[in-house]
Amino acid sequence: MKKFLAIVKREYLQNVRTKTFVISTIIGPLLMLGFSVLPGLLFGLKTGGATQIAVVDQTERMYESVRAAVMRPDEEDETGLPAQTPGSSPAGAAREAFSVQYEIEETPVRGRPLEEIKRELSARVRQKELDAYLILPPDILQDGKPEFYGRNLGDLITIGQLERRLNRAVREQRMKDSNIDAEQVRALTREVEMLRCKPGERCDAEASSEGNFFLAIGVASFIVIAILMYGQLILSAVVEEKTTRLAEVLFSSVRPFTLMAGKLIGISLVAMTQYGIWAVLFVAFALYGVAAAAASGFNLSLPSVPPSMLIYALLYFIIGFSLYATIFALIGAMVTTEKEAGQITVPLSMLLAVAIYLAFPVIRGPNSAYAFWVSMIPFFSPVTMLVRIVTETPPFWQIALSLLIGVATIALMVWLTARIYRVGMLMYGKRASIPEMLRWVRQS
């Protein structure tokens, strides 16, 4: 036991003290933040100030209402619903915060031919006095199509927003012309929001949030990322002892099983440390984010997660991680160099990707036979069963069975790996073939 703890401690300290660990702990969340929020932010970020648009109003009476509609923020969209539902994606909130500013001016027609006005405005666009101009045809209220001439037709956000707001102005004008009260129409055509709830559970806007689903996918990708990152670490730790011939010294002091188990647990603790730090940071950040959003008037709410869900997520995280970690240790004992190991670990990583793909049909039919079988396979269950639990919690015996199969598989893999470890770690020079390994298992 003392020896086992010494191995765990060494493995842990050696890995936690490295620069790689410190740097990845700091950079990890930044990268995650970067990949999830930054593209939205950047896309929504309109650089270079307000968009300057000239409007040529051939109807000679639409300009004011178009201008008003364009300048009015999207808080009420043409559907009559608030444009942003509370708790929607951070990218959406960010886009709103960075929404486009407009400066609108009218170019009076005054009987001049349209071609001449277009020429004049095009020249101004070229000289960068204007970003774009908009031509409202005389029959816009019937079926005339307005024309947008812009320097940059790739700015989909601005153009889409403009089109939406122009639509609103035109529709309201039509109603007004038909003596219909736009306000009243808006009130009457307001859409209904359907709450998504589970039978026997509280049902309100908050409970219906889709947070759980994101939690399942989040935990699944956490497992995948953790396995890929730390699997590599386990692999190189094992290969190091093999290439430096340390295994022989170590095996004269401890059993191969003790060595292997100590290594796996040591590195799992490293993973937990890193994930723990990230979790604390994430919760702190999320709380701060919600508080900050509330302070600036946004009504964000954290998705509420039942504790049972968290426990299942943790259980499947542990099972998935241990299973794949053992496989990585096995590969490490089989190969002679890390490079060689790469050829085997790539297909293994693919298996993880497969697990995520398999989860999508499960979302559609969480209680189908397909979902049942897929969530019983231990290599996939950390993802698939988690998705099932979230979408339509299966009977408890199924969860218990899949956990049991997971634990049994891990036990089997550990047993197998320990046997192969003893022989494999003392084999130098060439990679072991599958028949060879089967012999080792029988021999040792």
Binding site: E240, L246, E248, S252, S253
Partner: protein, 304 residues
């Protein structure tokens, strides 16, 4: 021999890997406080034998008894093993590394530190204690590895090619340490194919070749049992005299001198008379026992 004085006994041990027989029906007896040389050509089965003694692999048949008991994991803490393939954690500091390896042998961390300090001083490496292992030269790493082997003051030391990679100064230092350990009643099993080293250090030897024991016993007995003697000779004016003599079985000519292996029962004095009668001027004539080197070559050569 009493049970007490026997550190290790290997009884009719065999080990095969698939078709390949690595060790077959091997029996050894290693006495306490002696240096035991396990010699043999590459691939003879030395490393497999050692691995079985250390408990890394299990024999297919036969028994191994250590300190009079069948091998158990606890007993392994009383062995210090220096494998032929050397290895240390590259990115670990020397001191931490030794502490870790000491704890794996059942020591307390503090005792391991103390012992490591003592040995680092002894091998003049104390200023390297806080350096990472891969900053050390090969020879220094070799010495660190030796420290890891003796750190826990084992009663039985198993050293596989302990001198390889050491310069003469360090080889001398190592020899001194081994003899001192022997004086302290430690048992040392010493595996090598460097016969000069074995001849200098070993009290007992066992020669194995192609998985089988070829001969064993105390070095003196082995040499005596061989009986045959060689004559080292430097002389002028005797061309052909040696080769043609009925007393001589074979001759090797070196630049400086010739070496003649005498036939069974031949007397060196007779050869000397013969040569002088033949008109040779003798400047050197020395009768010696067969060197371990020669015994090795003869025994291994015979089998080939």
């Amino acid at each position: 021999m009493s049970e007490q004085s026997i550190t290790l006994s290997v009884e009719q041990v065999s080990k095969s890997f698939d078709e390949f027989v690595a060790v077959s029906d091997l029996s050894l007896m290693v006495r306490r406080g002696r240096i035991f040389g396990l010699i043999g050509p590459n691939g003879a089965g030395k490393t497999t034998t050692i691995r079985m003694i250390v408990g890394i692999t299990a024999p297919d048949a036969g028994r191994i008894k250590l300190f009079g008991q069948l091998l158990t994991p606890e007993l392994r803490d009383r062995i210090g093993y220096l494998p032929e393939e050397r290895g240390l954690y590259k990115r670990m500091k020397v001191g931490e590394q030794l502490r870790f390896l000491g704890v794996l042998k059942g020591m307390d961390a503090r005792a391991a530190d103390e012992s490591a300090g003592h040995w680092l001083e002894r091998l003049k490496l104390e200023e390297w204690r806080d350096k990472k292992t891969d900053e050390l030269s090969k020879g220094m790493q070799q010495k660190i590895q030796f420290i890891a082997t003796v750190l826990h003051d084992p009663e039985l030391l198993i050293l596989d090619e302990v001198f390889s990679g050491l310069d003469p100064v360090n080889a001398e230092l190592m020899t001194g340490i081994l003899l001192e350990l022997k004086d302290r009643d430690k048992t040392i099993i010493f595996s090598t194919h460097m016969m000069e080293q074995a001849e200098k250090l070993c009290d007992d030897i066992c020669l194995i070749n192609r998985s089988r024991k070829v001969l064993d016993g105390s070095l003196r007995e082995v040499k005596r049992s061989f009986g045959r003697r060689t004559v080292v000779l430097r002389a002028e004016n005797f061309d052909g005299g040696l080769q043609n003599s009925p007393l001589v079985a074979g001759v090797k000519s070196y630049g400086d001198h010739d070496e003649a292996l005498l036939r069974e029962g031949a007397d060196a004095q007779e050869l000397l008379k013969e040569l002088i009668a033949g008109g040779a001027r003798i400047t050197r004539f020395e009768e010696t026992e067969l060197s371990l080197h020669d015994i090795f070559l003869r025994k291994v050569g015979e089998a080939a």
